[in-house]
Symmetry: D2
Subunit: 140 residues, 4 copies
């Protein structure tokens, strides 16, 4: 799968001269939405169908800094998926650098509009199949 690219904006830097650490959390979201698109899932459409998918946990390691004008390559993978929870991992890279600048994982669930947890395999069999296919591909 093609990685996602984010070009660092000036407004994402802070007075240390580098990208403020909170923005990586936002890029994780951009890259996750892009990942879903690439496997055939529109997050906007999921919402229209009444599903939301909040973040329930995050874990991040900041390894090197980035700054304005850098193009950050973001590799996303579905790490686990069972029942109502699923998790992604992220690696972010600067061009031509083999070591990541940032690694992270995020855990999510699906909720309906009343805020109740949703079993994807009952509620959205197509999404369930796409997630299972991704996990299978990773194991192979």
């Amino acid at each position: 799968m093609e990685p996602y690219y984010h070009k660092v904006s000036y407004y994402e830097t802070d007075r240390m001269g580098v990208t403020h650490h909170s923005n990586y959390i936002r890029w994780m979201e951009e890259a996750r939405v892009d990942y879903l698109n690439k496997i055939g899932v529109s997050y906007a459409r999921l919402e229209e169908e009444g599903l939301v998918s909040p973040v329930v946990g995050l874990s991040c390691s900041y390894l090197r800094s980035t700054t304005f004008d850098d193009t950050v390559r973001i590799v996303v993978r579905l790490d686990s998926y069972r029942g109502v929870r699923f998790a992604f991992s992220y690696e972010m890279f600067l061009p031509d650098q083999p070591s990541p600048v940032f690694t992270a994982s995020s855990t999510h669930c699906f909720l309906d509009q009343a805020g109740k947890p949703v079993m994807v395999r009952h509620n959205n069999p197509k999404l369930d199949a796409l997630f299972k296919a991704q996990l299978k591909e990773r194991r192979e």
Copy 2:
């Protein structure tokens, strides 16, 4: 009326070493919500009642910079109110400085949840009276 105070956060600075200009727009919103509270209007309650109040125009002058740890004093005034439109003006100051660091005005309207313009004096007579009292006070 007591001014509103905003303490500049580190994440609001950029690599020029100063507050990024987009954050003043956000402080205008904070100060506007605080102003409404002080005249007896809860913006959260307005929303529950089905009113929203988008920004339709902004005009801003950046006169001096501010940075992390500065406490910015924000003076808000209702400048005009007629029919569906109303406008606020803003002046922001650093402590012990007579000249503002930033001045601005914003124009707003009220919409119902279908996105239709709302005449406040029909829809919300209490708010209409509060706005008129503010304008009257300014003129005196």
Copy 3:
């Protein structure tokens, strides 16, 4: 010149369901940096050479809303340039819509690292020539 495109992120929306108005200010910056790149000016390099270019004024009209997943087309033009000040105008569009969702202008100056205004035609003749060429092109 090719327009700049910004895809609206989830984190750019607010609980009105649409893009928060402060983000358009940030997209103006993204589009301005992209415009400079397209005429041959790297803003990152200008900074390395000791020039910064703060915003001194903004004027914005919010005409329609945008939201998550929208791809916003942003047309930037250099509107004026004389001495130490220059101004850009912006029009933002949703796909296949002839009327803009947002229009704005921004005024800027150039400062050296001591915060002193800089005459671009003395300090950076290449940039001066590029700006004059853009203005000339617009008039023709």
Copy 4:
């Protein structure tokens, strides 16, 4: 120690109707700066003295949502401090609710302006003493 309070701004919500998850990371920073102030350390002064303190790791659990107009109480504690690394923990609460809405920890180091790790007890004995006093107080 008095907790830190953050009132949720409208611009911090997203179209799910709740605070966007990235903002909690920013509130952690606000609360950390406030904590340092309360034990007698100005982060702005540390920077003037040539020290910066980037985030090297984060771990967050999102337990319940918050939204516009909520006043979030944030309890920060220094969890560990040895050599060049130190860690804080955070608990965030809504008024009158015994269970937190969010818990997290962050790990930091101190760097000099050249980006080299700094042993606080050599470079800044006053800060070293303050951190040790905090840890001792926690254990008692």
